[in-house]
């Protein structure tokens, strides 16, 4: 899987994710390095000796999570951008994820961005807590973002676009924002059929093709349900808007 997609599987991750107990103690590095390649700067950069000396330079790094204090020096030193630091003690509901970020421009501290998973899919809104870009980082800046705790092992990149802001338009046809949808959910409209009727979301020319999945995800998030268990709205013909003149025959659309 990793070889064809570049995305580690759950099984791959099990070899690098520390125990719940260790995560509960504070920041720790996650070495998402799965390939045997001749490379060892993580080992040489760790002043605490938390990474075991490489017997063979092709070895994968071995981290002693009890020695590692999550200082994050190794993050910028990894040429493969494969090391992250996760701090699940950051707050009651959030975890801090430190990410090597070599894109330009850099995010600004205090702003909101979108947390992406390993496939690059947006998964949550995230606050930029710190951006480290000194000489020590050597052009591999480290961005620390706060994400919902349950996504600490999911978020591994970020997009500067704040997709999950209240101002984001969810339904383009009827110009309904995410903030409005959240408000309706708070008021008890907790199925997509109800939200559609109260907000017009999904009633436009696209008939919910763009918005329905986004709304379902918001409902799932707000009500603690699995999005796969939620009912979708009824699909009816036509699949694309059709001119009434076309329905009676004798003319073309466009």
């Amino acid at each position: 899987m990793l070889k064809s997609t570049g995305i580690p599987t759950q099984k791959d991750l099990e070899t690098v994710v520390p125990s719940k107990e260790r995560l509960a103690k504070g920041p720790v590095a996650i070495m998402e390095c799965f390939e045997k390649i001749p490379c060892n700067p993580c080992y040489t950069s760790c002043k605490r000796g938390a990474i075991k000396e490489f017997e063979d330079i092709n070895d994968r790094p071995q981290l002693n999570v009890d020695i590692c204090n999550g200082c994050g020096v190794c993050i910028s030193n990894c040429p493969g951008l494969a090391i992250f630091v996760v701090d699940e003690t950051y707050s009651e509901t959030e975890a801090l994820v430190k990410i090597p970020y070599e894109f330009s421009p850099l995010p600004e501290e205090g702003t909101y961005v979108t947390g992406l998973d390993r496939e690059g899919k947006p998964v949550c809104r995230a606050k930029v807590v710190k951006v480290q870009n000194s000489k020590a980082q050597d052009r591999t800046p480290v961005v620390a973002i706060a994400v919902p705790k349950e996504l600490s092992m999911v978020v591994r990149c970020l997009s500067l676009d704040d997709y999950y802001s209240d101002n984001t338009i969810v339904c383009r046809c009827e110009e309904v924002t995410l903030g409005e949808i959240r408000e309706y959910i708070r008021k008890g409209y907790q199925t997509i059929e109800e939200i559609k009727r109260i907000s017009r979301c999904g009633m436009g020319p696209c008939q919910g093709r763009t918005c329905s999945q986004l709304i379902l995800e918001e409902i799932a998030k707000a009500t603690g349900q699995d999005v796969a268990d939620l009912k979708v709205h009824t699909y009816r013909q036509p699949t694309l808007p059709i001119k009434l003149g076309l329905l009676v025959g004798g003319e073309d659309d466009e």
């Binding site: 009633m203 436009g204 008939q207 009816r236 013909q237 808007p241 009434l244 003149g245």
Partner: protein, 383 residues
């Protein structure tokens, strides 16, 4: 599963059920419960064409409609609704395409005027001034009442439901009634998928499913449910004020405040079961009728079609009030496609019947027993 006690259980969370709950709560009745199988207005209310008109052919329907429309005029304030029920009072233009219709309309207008309804008969040229995109050569004349119009059924139902809840009504959504217990000819309680509700009073406001509910207490009703279909177009700039309608040509067509056109028609060959599927035939027939009478609309794109159930009674007038077979069982059904526009008056007269009050509009002749007695006055003006 929670068992509870209620003073009144209303079956059906459409406009009728919510309006009845509101009227009861407003009169001070405590422990009113509305049971809805899905979400509010998921049945006929949320699927209807949403037009409201005073232009009827029977005195009773005229009175019921007039009362309701006068309520809609101030409903946002009366119900203290946080959004808008989107009442557009642009009138109903009902075209006369046959000599028979001309005659009927003139008779209807006389009746309507005598009841204080400001309808009038107009020439094709006058009709064209009101709806400029119509083909006036297709008509002999038209009836017009500027007080008719249409409004948003989702918001209207929600407005009632919210107001009712503020007055203490409990609305159980996604709860299905599975049985009704009757003991010694009296209502005892309602079995639902979310527990048992002990109650002496049940109101059947189940729209297209009302006959199934009545059957649960052994009451047979001479009604059937019939699919009616509708289509909606993309929104365009405002161009049509009134609801445009024809009985003989079989069309009603309105432009919502949002800009989209909504149009529907009946079909005598509709299946009389509970299906609410969509058919291609409808689209073709609807488009043909619409384009013949309102030619420029051929350029509009339809984005969706859907359907809902008319609960048809033999005389196309509602069935209201108690039944003699079961004490505590009340009917608010058989609306024959007009349940939405009668919503406010339904709420008032059913709450009065339950409380034994003098009715605002005497509706005792709309009881179920009229069919046995054969005292029917057929409503001639239905699409």
């Amino acid at each position: 599963m929670m068992n509870k006690t209620a003073s009144v259980v209303i079956i059906g969370g459409g406009i009728s059920g919510c309006a009845i709950a509101y009227s009861l709560a407003k009169k001070g009745v405590k422990d009113v419960v509305v049971v809805e199988r899905e979400y509010l207005c998921s049945g006929a209310t949320g699927r209807c064409g949403a037009g409201v008109r005073m232009q009827w052919g029977t005195e009773m329907n005229c009175k019921l409609a007039k009362y309701s429309i006068e309520f809609f005029e101030t409903a946002n304030e009366e119900l203290e609704y946080e959004y808008d029920i989107e009442f557009k009072q642009g009138g109903y233009l009902i075209i006369a395409a046959t000599e028979k219709e001309v005659e009927q309309f003139q008779k209807n207008i006389k009746l309507q005027n005598s009841l204080g309804i400001p309808s009038r008969y107009i020439t094709p040229k006058e009709a064209k001034e009101i709806v400029p995109h119509m083909d006036e050569t297709q008509i002999l004349g038209a009836a017009f009442n500027p007080k008719d119009g249409h409004l948003n059924p989702f918001h209207t139902t929600q407005a009632y439901a919210n107001a009712a809840q503020r007055l203490g009504v409990e609305i159980m959504k996604f709860t299905e009634v599975t049985g009704i217990d009757v003991e010694n000819g009296k209502i005892k309680g309602v079995q639902t998928t979310k527990g048992y509700i002990s109650t002496p009073v049940v109101v059947n406001a189940a729209g297209g499913y009302s006959q199934l509910i009545s059957k649960m207490v052994g009451v047979e009703m001479p009604v059937f449910s019939e699919r009616h279909q509708i289509l909606v177009t993309e929104p365009v700039a405002p161009m049509q004020g009134p609801m445009f309608m024809s009985f003989s040509q079989n069309i009603y067509c309105q432009q919502t405040p949002h800009g989209s056109f909504i149009m529907g028609r009946g079909d005598p060959n509709e299946p009389r079961d509970l299906r609410i599927t969509s058919s291609w035939d409808f689209l073709e027939e609807m488009a043909k009728t619409c384009i013949r009478l309102l030619p420029p609309l051929r350029e509009l794109r339809m984005v969706r079609q859907w359907s809902g159930l008319y609960n048809m009674s033999p005389d196309r007038q509602p069935i209201y009030g108690p039944v003699k077979e079961v004490e505590g069982f009340y009917l608010a059904c058989g609306f024959s496609g007009h349940g939405f526009m009668f919503g406010p008056v339904t709420g008032v007269v059913i709450s009065e019947a339950i409380l034994g009050e003098e009715p605002t509009i005497p509706v005792h002749m709309l009881g179920l027993d009229r069919f046995e007695k054969g005292e029917l006055i057929l409503e001639p003006s239905v699409v």
